[in-house]
């Protein structure tokens, strides 16, 4: 698996001084992204874009943990899926408005993240990945058996409702802008986390944990905080997805769902701010537009993955960053 080499290799985008003007350049990208988000639904199908945004946020949350904390989690589907179940259930059965449904899903993911994180951060590398995988398999089993998840059928026909009592989300376009706002919030939060003193310490821990310990940092507290933040944002993505697609199902908690953000992050660029967004767009677009090819989707996906790993290991955005000589 890729994770072994990730753990051993010197991390991509290791702490270096950012060249001058990087912050301004990033600001420019954010503005460009905002413009893209605004015109997007008029060029492409809004539901497709919402799916891209949900997965992009999921991949961003994952990348926060792996790219900036060096922690390879193979259990992120648990947070994504459980949040989507809670969000769907509270909206459908308890009649929560969408904002509360999404919030409750996110909170549950955060709690779950605290629990998982507290156990998993005690080990490093492959063992860390295996613990997260094992815990997420427990969540899968729980979802399969528990009454409220609806087993194989999942929770269907979740009402989209009215956001804050005024925005009618049954309209795809209205929903799109709500999802875009949630995505932007997540992205800005991650950007802020990465560039905060906390983020700097995280990068230091990633690059050399013993040195960070010797400098007096309580490494485990930092790791746990990052883990919970990542789980929370993954939960936000899952909870939003449940409202968008009006369903929550076993697919979302299945271990293969934990693999999706890994693939997206690697294709887009590990340890880059914007990489996971590009990766998510590429992977979701392939799943969507190549759906008519049937079994060939997996083959095409595999070929692209192999090409990515062979030709530009730092991912699409990582490649762009190298050409531009700026971190992205």
């Amino acid at each position: 698996m890729a994770n072994a080499s990730i753990a051993i290799e010197p991390p991509l985008g290791a702490v270096k001084r950012e060249p001058r003007g990087t912050a301004a350049f990033h600001r420019l990208i954010f503005v460009g992204l905002a413009v893209l988000l605004l015109v997007g639904p008029f060029l492409l199908y809004p539901v497709f874009l919402m799916k891209v945004l949900c997965f992009a946020l999921f991949a961003l949350a994952f990348n926060l943990l792996l790219g900036y904390g060096g922690l390879m989690s193979f259990g992120h589907a648990a947070f994504f899926g459980m949040a989507s179940y809670i969000s769907a259930y509270s909206a459908k059965v308890w009649g929560f408005p969408p904002e509360l449904a999404i919030l409750s899903g996110t909170v549950v993911a955060a709690l779950l993240g605290t629990l998982f994180g507290a156990l998993a951060i005690r080990r490093q590398g492959i063992y860390f990945a295996m613990i997260t995988l094992a815990l997420s398999q427990m969540v899968y089993f729980f979802s399969l058996q528990a009454k409220f998840t609806g087993g194989e059928d999942g929770i269907q026909a979740v009402p989209r409702g009215r956001m804050f009592g005024v925005l009618n989300l049954a309209n795809d376009l209205t929903l799109y802008f709500v999802v875009a706002a949630i995505f932007m919030f997540g992205l800005l939060a991650i950007y802020r986390i990465i560039h905060s003193p906390f983020g700097q310490v995280m990068k230091a821990i990633r690059d050399n944990e013993p040195r960070a310990i010797s400098l007096g940092y309580r490494v485990n507290q930092y790791k746990l905080t990052l883990f919970v933040l990542s789980a929370t944002l993954a939960g936000l993505a899952g909870a939003t997805k449940a409202i968008v697609f009006q369903l929550a199902s076993l697919t979302d908690v299945h271990w293969s769902m934990s693999g999706e953000p890994v693939l997206m992050t690697l294709v887009g660029g590990l340890g880059t701010v914007f990489g996971p967004i590009v990766g998510a767009a590429v992977i979701v677009a392939m799943q969507n537009y190549l759906a008519t090819l049937g079994a060939w989707v997996l083959v095409v996906q595999g070929v692209i993955f192999v090409v990515c790993v062979l030709m530009f290991r730092e991912g699409l955005v990582g490649l762009a960053a190298r050409l531009l000589k700026r971190p992205l």
């Binding site: 497709f48 009006q246 369903l247 759906a291 049937g294």
Partner: protein
Amino acid sequence: MNRGMLLVAATAATAFATGVAEAQVTVKLGVLNDRSGVYSDIGGEGSAVAARMAVEDFKAAEKGLKVEVVAADHQNKPDVGSNIARQWYDQDGVDVILDVPTSSVALAINQITRDKNKIFLNSGAASSDLTGAQCSPNTVHWTYDTVQLANVTGGAMVRQGGNTWFFLTADYAFGHALERDTAAVVTKNGGKIVGSVKTPFPSNDFSSFLLQAQASKAKVIGLANAGGDTVNSIKQAAEFGITQGGQSLAGMLVFVNDVQALGLKTAQGLVFSETFYWDENDATRAWSRRYGERMGGKMPNMTNAGVYSSVLHYLKAVEAEKSKDPQKVMARMKATPTDDPLFGKGSVRSDGRKMHDAFLLEVKKPEESKGPWDVAKILAKVPAEQTFRPLAESNCPLVGKS
């Protein structure tokens, strides 16, 4: 422009528009199923081929209908499936979605189709909720469902003398439901449940469960599972010589393709239910042979046949209505009796249940088989009224209103 002229122009435009519509109705059918995963052998390309055959056999072009068939892979994921369905309905002008195996995806499409007021003709999914609690005025559940499987396999087996049962149940909602429904039918028909065991889902090793089943001395071992679990349990039952030992194996959800893939040596003696068997009569044989020519010799299963039959009935309704308005077409489909070479005569009920007879089949012994697809013999034919859930017991809100 004065008002009079405007009126004239408007009338002319309307007349012109209806004139065009009468001349040609354009219909787009979308076959949405698993084309790459575990169920691709059951639906997959075969269902798309069946849909195209129905369009050709209906001679749509001669009757002024322009019909296009598109296909996509839902990968057994509800979110992928619902995304494709929304896009088909919103952007690509698809009028009808066909097939859709995997209950979770089917239930999602059921909801979307209702919201968008289109038509959903399901053939591949098993969940009886499609015509029960979640029934919709826009959905017809064509081929089979869990109630029918339980009724035919459970009921007919008891009548054939298999009156003591032991269940191997996949330990999740679908398996539990299948066991519960089948057990109810068995008891109602005078049979007895001597025991059951829950198997982890999914599982590769059924040996200890099969030994329990063997020790129970039950005449019938019911496999309340699906897909890979069914295949694995049948294979391992063969290794234990269970059917040779006098016990029967009853698969709750087995397709003819599964039997063919397992081979007669392994699957012989297995009892299962389908609503269509290719070797039933001359008409089904002739159609299946034409299907086989396009599918490299493969024979169709009930899902493929269901897609063909549903497309045919839908196109007849569109032709009669000279319109593809979903409400009108659905009303016509429910009002007109169905008749096709594959399922014979039948009807579409107010809850969206398509009614037709079902078969209890038994896998042949290798020496009885005359060809690679000659895999089963028909033990019993169960009339539609005895096999599907009666309307009186229905929890579908549509029943009684129409």
